[in-house]
Amino acid sequence: MTSPTPTSPHTLAAASITRVMLRVIIALIPGLAAYIWFFGWGITINIAFAVLVALGAEAIMLQLRKRPLLPFLTDGSAIVTAVLLAFAIPPLAPWWITFIGIIFAIVVAKQLYGGLGYNPFNPAMVGYVVLLISFPREMTSWVPTLSFSPYELSFVENAIFIFTGHLPAGLAIDALTEATPLDTLKTNLGLGNTVSEIKSQLGLDEATSRLLSVIPIFGAIGGKGWEWINGGFLLGGLWLIYKKVIGWQIPAALLGSLVSISVLFYIIDPDLYASPVFHLFSGATMLAAFFIATDPVTAATSNRGRLIYGVGIGILMYIIRTWGGYPDSVAFAVLLMNMTVPIIDHYFKSRVFGRHGD
């Protein structure tokens, strides 16, 4: 019995950061499955590459900062950042897009701020915004859902394109990509069309659209394919809440405020403003609500604070989507709310047991 005297508690729950991150990754699987189903295997190449780059960048930075490698490489946080950013990068984007985004996210947004736990801004979103601003063309060229792609790239062809830029003979990149549903909606609204017109043109059933050789990008409720991907993220997110990996406050506040504000404008003019359901099931809404805004490091900490934080992101998302310069808005909304976290934390503390109103 050698005895340094450690203090209580002498028992600990099996919680660990690695376990938290692992669960987050598991919860992404349904969304990923839907993604692969609709957009092909390109995403998996992006994810694998992003993870490798992230771990490499993390290792180099830890070495430079003289921090222990093993605990930080195995905590899983770099992997989650990499996976989330890979989801936000178009499946046919060249490798250097992913590379630059990840390097910026890990090196600048995370490690230069002090590494795990110290970054005020969500690293994946910082990486995404850097890419979106620097390479808008590459970042907005998405592939249509597979069934309407003129050519279905194989896994290998996809990988070759990402890393070398070579397509199978006779194919041009423009033939393979298109704008996202949110982007299309925005562009067409800008051209003076109403939501229902756009939808009737672009939301046809498969047979008709084949006949008219129009690619349908609007599904039953959201963007074509995107509604399923969002559904997958919703499922995974609910599981995270059930497992108490995340609280319900941020997702509920975010989705609640997004629905409220879109209902309001939808009632005012359904021709100018997309429906709340469309907002919920298009773009990165669910990914944002359950996986990005809930990043604990950069979110508010008290439960009331988290509600405010979630509401802020939801409203900003709607504002930027509707009146801003970019079709989707998750990254900007999240980063803007990241800035407000210290103030939210300062003003929204929980009431302490046995104390009143302070």
Partner: protein, 552 residues
């Protein structure tokens, strides 16, 4: 059990809490058995909250079992009694079970093996005694809270002048993992607990009594239900298992829905809590006349061959108890007094059992969490979600770590009950409670230093004041003297002046009189020619008369 169905009491919830693995049935299979009589007992004078007791016997004195050997000093204190008969062989410094691992003054008794009682009596008809006398008997019996804190019970059982005690809560929650001494006591001695409860109720004049038992102790619940069947104002309440429900403030909230003010006592809202073991000790003191000289202790943990509960004389070395329960001292990785959530590690196994020793947890590596490195906080908020006091442990951690002692107090550091929930759930393995204890210690040191410097400052200020005052006094004295001197000269001058004036007046008068005389003479000589009138008489009146005459 019939009542279980009939009576449904509304329960409230406190926020947070955790469910650590119970590990209770390790030690519940055997009944409570008496521990062997030790040869040598070491009794610290400080086994309770408050002032240590003061020895009233000398080295070499023979003492009998139950004889008071140290008396309380001051209000918040408790006496110590000899747990067995024998000789006091030393009064001096010995290692004691305390988080600091320091030594403290102890009385050492060498047992004579006879275990002979001092003459003692039961109190007859305690309910005829005034509550204050009853409290005095409880004080004399050396009873302190046996749940772990060790606060002198008689103080708790004093409702004061104006406070009406609505609810007396008997705490049989025992929410810490591993510990089962209250559980077994409730199973085996429900009548003693009831009897103690009635005495406490009388002392407090409490309206209703609740006995709270967590639902992981069904046998204890049934035993107490049956024991209290005939009492309308006593209710045995089953509460859902949740750590730290045994904490007084949390339990009060669960049972009454009321929150004890952060800077107040349960008494402030008309509630008093006592542990079931304390109630049994009160029963022993009143109905048997026996002071607190033994207690039930759970001997458990993976290093113990036959874990169970023993009734142990205070002062018995823990090592002997571990050996009696087939423990293997070599296998002990960490020896803990109390439970794994709030207990503290002991630095050696030969420390004595004291009044607050509810459990000896001889933990091996299996019982303890694996060593994991402390990682940065990821602000996940798991700690805040489990904090039963609604604190924000991550903010407290942040400020504690950076020694921002003002900020930690702003975030109510001193409301922390150190229950360990936050550390328990932290995915970054941050020993949060340790940081908080450290910060508290720092603040206390700072306060003490501030107090010291305050005293020094006051002393200095007084010194300055005194110097200034003395100076002023001296100045004043000097001024007075000067003034007096001045006054003297002034008076003299005044006298002189007066005299001069007088002289001048006199001179003038004389001159005038002379002049008048001359004039008179001249007039009378003139008048003498006109009428026969003599001017003989007072010279002083002369001019008046003359003027009168002139006016006429």
């Amino acid at each position: 059990m019939r009542q279980t169905v009939n009576r449904i009491r509304r329960l409230w919830k406190f926020r947070g809490g955790v469910h650590p693995p119970q590990q209770k049935n390790i030690s519940t299979s055997a009944p409570i058995s008496p521990a062997q009589l030790p040869e040598r007992l070491v009794l610290p004078l400080h086994q309770h909250i408050g002032e240590p007791a003061e020895p009233i016997v000398n080295i070499g004195d023979k003492v009998l079992k139950g004889q008071m050997i140290a008396r309380p000093q001051g209000y918040v204190s408790a006496p110590i009694h000899a747990p067995t008969s024998g000789t006091v062989i030393d009064i001096g410094n010995y290692p004691v079970p305390h988080p600091s691992s320091l030594s403290a003054t102890c009385m050492v008794i060498h047992s004579d093996g006879d275990d002979r009682w001092i003459e003692h009596h039961a109190v007859e008809d305690y309910f005829r005694l005034p509550p204050s006398e009853l409290r005095n008997l409880i004080r004399e019996a050396g009873i302190v809270g046996l749940g772990g804190a060790g606060f002198p019970s008689y103080i708790k059982f004093n409702p004061g002048q104006q406070k009406a005690i609505q609810t007396l809560i008997l705490n049989g929650v025992e929410c810490e993992p591993y510990i089962t001494c209250d559980d077994l006591l409730m199973r085996e001695r429900p009548q003693d607990i009831l009897s103690g409860l009635l005495i406490i109720q009388h002392a407090l004049q409490a309206h209703e009594c609740l006995v709270a038992i967590e639902d992981n102790k069904p046998e204890a619940f049934v035993a107490l239900r049956q024991a209290t069947e005939d009492y309308d104002n006593i209710e045995v309440v089953q509460v859902p298992t949740l750590y730290p429900q045994g904490s007084e403030k949390q339990l009060v909230k669960v049972l009454t829905g009321k929150e004890v003010p952060a800077d107040g006592l349960a008494l402030n809202i008309g509630v008093v809590c006592a542990n079931v073991g304390t109630a049994a000790a009160v029963h022993n003191a009143i109905h048997r006349g026996e002071p607190l000289i033994s207690r039930n202790v759970t001997i458990t943990g993976s290093a113990i061959g036959s874990p169970r509960n023993l009734n142990v004389l205070l002062g018995t070395p823990m090592r002997e108890l571990i050996e009696q329960c087939d423990g293997n001292l070599d296998r002990i990785e960490r020896l803990i007094m109390g439970g794994p959530m709030m207990g503290f590690a002991l630095h050696r196994p030969d420390l004595p059992v004291i009044k607050t020793t509810n459990c000896i947890l001889a933990a091996t590596a299996e019982d303890l969490p694996p060593q994991r490195p402390e990682l940065p906080c990821i602000r996940c908020g798991a700690c805040a979600d489990t904090c039963p006091v609604n604190l924000l442990p991550q903010q407290l951690y942040w400020y504690s770590k950076h020694q921002n002692l003002d900020k930690v107090q702003e975030f109510n550091l001193f409301d922390c009950i150190e229950c360990g929930c936050c550390s328990y759930v932290c995915p970054s393995n941050i020993p949060l409670v340790q940081y908080f204890r450290f910060a508290k210690g720092d603040i206390w040191t700072q306060e003490r230093e501030k107090e010291k410097s305050d005293i020094a400052r006051r002393r200095h200020e007084f010194h300055q004041f005194r110097v200034a005052r003395d100076k002023e006094e001296r100045q004043a004295k000097r001024n007075r003297k000067k003034a007096a001197l001045k006054a003297d000269t002034a008076a003299a001058e005044r006298d002189k002046k007066k005299a001069e004036i007088q002289a001048a007046i006199e001179r003038t008068q004389t001159r005038r009189q002379d002049a008048m005389k001359d004039a008179e003479m001249r007039r009378s000589s003139y008048q003498g020619r006109t009428r026969d009138h003599s001017t003989a008489g007072n010279a002083g009146q002369q001019p008046e008369n003359s003027s009168d005459t002139e006016q006429k």
